[in-house]
């Protein structure tokens, strides 16, 4: 049936309807609030010692912009292949996604990008600032020195590295086993730095005399000597113990030693774990002896877990007291300890249990209880003129007459590769400010380059890049609108089973494939940055949000978000855009009259 027969009834229908341009009605004049795009800092970036722009890196990976993502890492970190493998990834602990389901696999994605760069021969951004006409001597070739050389070279300095040994990399080459960091990866990273014109002198140990006379050839010296001297055990018979660090270097760069039966490894840090796991790979059964509890070990927990899985035994609450030889066997006497209370440093205090000792026997005993600077001059002097920054120290007016900068483990609170890289970057910025703006500006400039609320620095911010417009506010989970996120599974690359990995020094974890990486990168909330999700424009009741690129018919580019704006002629300040922004990339503020 039809409704036509009712037309004759002429039922009244008078509605408010206008065909005049609605643009005449500037509804923005009603507003007392104004939204605007204000990118903020993601917690991962703030927590990353290198201050990497992680939300942006993952956004680019999720869209297939792998080369752009790669270059985004290199803006802040010259050693992504290394960090993608060995970093303790505090970024993942800070990841907001951890409060939703599980953190984004940031570390595995960094490794993925390194492998992608190798396999697809990505071109690196080798651009450098105009030459500053200054030369910097860099002592040591560990991560802090490599980082300092990289950033200083890019800032226009001529850099020369002086390495005491025969190969570059410091602890990366000699202290981290191949199953965690193959030399081939490290070699690529070093070629990158050499590609910037950095010269590396080998078998070139530096002496205090060299520094005293450096002025004739150099305008500054960076000391990144690291911790080269093993810490003494301080117990009777300690000369019978072998040096764990030396063992690590030999087993990686020399020939693999034959099985020695059984070994004890004294210590609880990453080196102790590395020594024990390397021993296993040479067919030696390894037992770690540690004075506190397993939970108190300073080694990364995932490394401890993997070591145990591979077959390393841990004897905890056992403080070494003496080493004695009994025929071919070594005996380690340990005092049994008991936990008491948490100390001021947050670690459990332990005290000996009166009269309780135990004797552990093995074919060899390795000491891996830490290390310190080999020589006193490698440390900043006790001098009120030394400027102590979070990751470096500087003595602008030293007896040698040129600035001296100190970086790496000796001046870092956290002894990690990422912190060493941060150290080199911080020293590079400090030195550049010293030369270009003067000593008085150094601290203010360091603060200006901060990423978020911690100590991480951004070279991109220092150089005036787009990142400098981001607010230091660190986006928390409660700042996000998680209505727009769906649960998804976290994945890293596949790992070889422990019983297989323990048979060789081959890498344990494989790389994510491209589809897997894109899927993992998509899990990133992109906290604090615009990823063109378009919610603001979609939900604006006044059609007052413009995305110029979208209007041009553009797809994603590397400049997501930059051409979005709110047309204040029509924005009524309702704040829907801000509320519906899933990632806290907008703010709304009362208008200033």
């Amino acid at each position: 049936m039809t409704n036509e027969r009712f037309d004759a009834m002429h039922i009244s229908l008078l509605i408010p309807k206008s065909s005049s341009y609605t643009t005449k009605n500037k509804t923005g004049s009603w507003s007392f609030m104004r939204p605007r795009y204000q990118e903020k800092t993601a917690p991962c970036s703030a927590r990353c010692p290198c201050g990497q722009d992680i939300p942006r890196i993952e956004m680019l990976v999720s869209r297939g912009g792998l080369e752009a993502a790669w270059r985004t890492i290199l803006a802040e970190n010259p050693l992504p292949g290394t960090c993608g493998r060995v970093c303790f990834h505090p970024c993942e602990e800070a990841c907001n996604r951890g409060e939703f389901d599980a953190p984004v696999s940031i570390n595995a994605l960094e490794r993925f990008l390194d492998d992608a760069a190798r396999d697809q021969s990505f071109s690196e951004d080798n651009s450098k600032a105009p030459p500053k006409g200054k030369r910097v001597a860099i002592v040591g070739s560990g991560p802090a020195s490599l980082s300092a050389a990289y950033f200083l070279a890019r800032l226009g300095y001529e850099c020369e590295i002086f390495e005491a040994g025969e190969a570059p990399g410091g602890v990366l080459r000699g202290g981290i086993p191949s199953y965690r960091l193959p030399n081939a990866t490290l070699d690529r990273e070093i070629r990158r730095i050499e590609g910037l014109g950095v010269t590396i002198h080998y078998s070139a140990p530096v002496s205090p005399e060299f520094i005293a006379s450096a002025r004739s050839c150099f305008d500054a010296v960076f000391l990144g000597c690291g911790h080269g001297k093993p810490t003494a055990l301080g117990i009777p018979g300690e000369e019978l113990a072998l040096d764990g660090l030396e063992f690590l270097n030999k087993s990686k760069n020399g020939s693999l030693s034959a099985s020695i039966g059984s070994a004890l490894v004294i210590g609880g840090g990453n080196s102790a774990i590395d020594v024990a796991r390397s021993l296993l790979r040479s067919g030696t059964s390894a037992t770690i002896v540690y004075r506190r509890r397993r939970d108190d070990m300073p080694a990364f927990s995932h490394e401890i877990a993997r070591a145990v899985e591979e077959g390393v035994k841990i004897v905890e609450l056992s403080a070494p007291a003496a080493i004695t030889r009994k025929g071919k066997i070594l005996e380690l006497t340990v005092r049994k300890m008991r936990p008491t209370e948490i100390g001021a440093d947050g670690r459990m205090r332990v005290v000996p249990i009166e009269g309780q000792t135990e004797i552990l026997a093995a074919d060899a005993i390795y000491s891996a209880v830490g290390a310190s600077a080999a020589e006193a001059w490698m440390l900043p002097p006790q001098n009120p003129e030394v400027l102590h920054l979070s990751h470096s120290a500087a003595l602008w007016n030293c007896p040698a007459g040129i600035p001296l900068l100190y970086g790496g483990d000796p001046v870092n609170e956290e002894e990690s590769v990422a912190d060493a890289i941060a150290s080199g970057k911080q020293a590079a910025i400090a030195l550049d400010v010293f030369f270009t703006k003067g000593q008085a500006s150094v601290e203010a400039e360091i603060i200006r380059c901060k990423v978020g609320d911690g100590t991480s620095l951004s070279m991109e911010i220092y150089l005036g890049g787009a990142r400098q417009s981001r607010a230091n506010k660190v986006v928390r989970f409660e700042d996000l609108n998680d209505d727009y996120f769906v649960l998804s599974e976290r994945q890293r690359g596949a790992s070889v089973p422990a019983e297989v990995s323990v048979r060789s020094f081959a890498e344990i974890e494989s790389c994510l494939d491209e589809a897997g990486a894109a899927k993992q990168a998509e899990r990133c909330f992109n906290c604090g940055i615009c990823n063109d999700c378009d919610n603001c424009r979609t939900y604006c009741p006044e059609v007052a949000v413009f995305a110029a690129r979208a209007a041009r018919g553009g797809n994603w580019t590397e400049d997501a978000g930059v051409d979005r704006e709110v047309n204040v002629d029509y924005c009524k300040g309702c704040g829907v855009c801000v509320t519906e922004c899933p990632r806290c990339a907008m703010v709304i503020e009362e208008q200033q009259s």
Partner: protein, 390 residues
Amino acid sequence: MREVLEGSQAVAEAARLARVKVVSAYPITPQTHIVEELAKFCSDGSLDGKFICVESEHSAMASVIGAQSGGVRSFTASSSHGLALMHEMLHWASAARLPIVMAEVNRALGPGWNLWVDQTDSLAQRDTGWIQLYCADGQEAFDTTILAYRLAEIVNLPVMVVLDAFFLSHTYEPVDIPTQAEVDKYLPPYEPKFLMDTKDAYTLNTVAPPNVYMEMRRSIQMAMEAAPEVYEKIEDEFYEQFGRRYGLAEEYRCEDADTVLVMAGTAASTARVAIDNLREKGEKVGLLRIRMFRPFPVNALRKSLEKAKKVAVLDRNCSFGAGGIFAQELKAALYGSGPNPPKLYSYITGLGGRDVTVDTIGTMYAMTRDREEPASESLWLGLNEEMLKS
């Protein structure tokens, strides 16, 4: 095909067969079964429509207003507090002249928290410009929903199909469900008289200053005034095709009745039994069940009651400070209807789901018969007076 369905399911079936394109609703007992059923239809593909989940009834109505403005048939359902929350948007829907259909299940408002039948929720929306049709059984709920789309789209006003909580919404009865082809034959595809269209752009619902506002209000009233006539015509067509009709108000044994009982909703089924009993005892009593409450079909009601000497109205509602709402409306309608209008007796009972039994109806009739003149206010039946002493 005859199926055994809940009242709620009958309404959902009707919306499906009306080929609604958008359903948006927020759950509230006792309405929830209706939209649950429709959500199922949307997800299993038996309805080619989109179900929009929202965070409140206000948004549910706003969503269907948006959908209908975009030129598609839409549906929602609510109840009690949910309907109260929609209030602002109810005004909007009618003044925007959108032929939205909503099922409203009569439920009491709290506090005291109460899930059961009470007509105050829908009657409190009487001034919002919605046509209101009250149903008494599952078949009628189905048929009325189909009729509602037809009526709404001719007069460009929204229609509320009203069902009693539980007694109708949750009761299973045999319901004859026509085929899609049969419904399509009766209900033509929706042809909006205006819609948001980027090819012919204009602004809807703009500012209406004093020089036009009043005319727009008059236009709503004119459409309302036309609604009873349109309804009767489309119901004739419905009768031709499906063999069922209900009228603006349904008469039962009224022909020679001296006293006519008036009510709406499922209580009327009980009243029929009471009337049959009374008739057996020789009482000349009939029943008039009001179906259309907005617009109030004054002429039809006057005609149905022209021979009656007494009219007794049963209200399952109360306008506090005034009394039973159907009684007030009917009293106003009868004023000036002729030289000897019937005397009107007003009773309130059955609030918040309290049973209205055959005895309740009997009492109501006896009180009406035995009193020469009606009380000036509504009388409450079945109260526990003890409780009120404290």
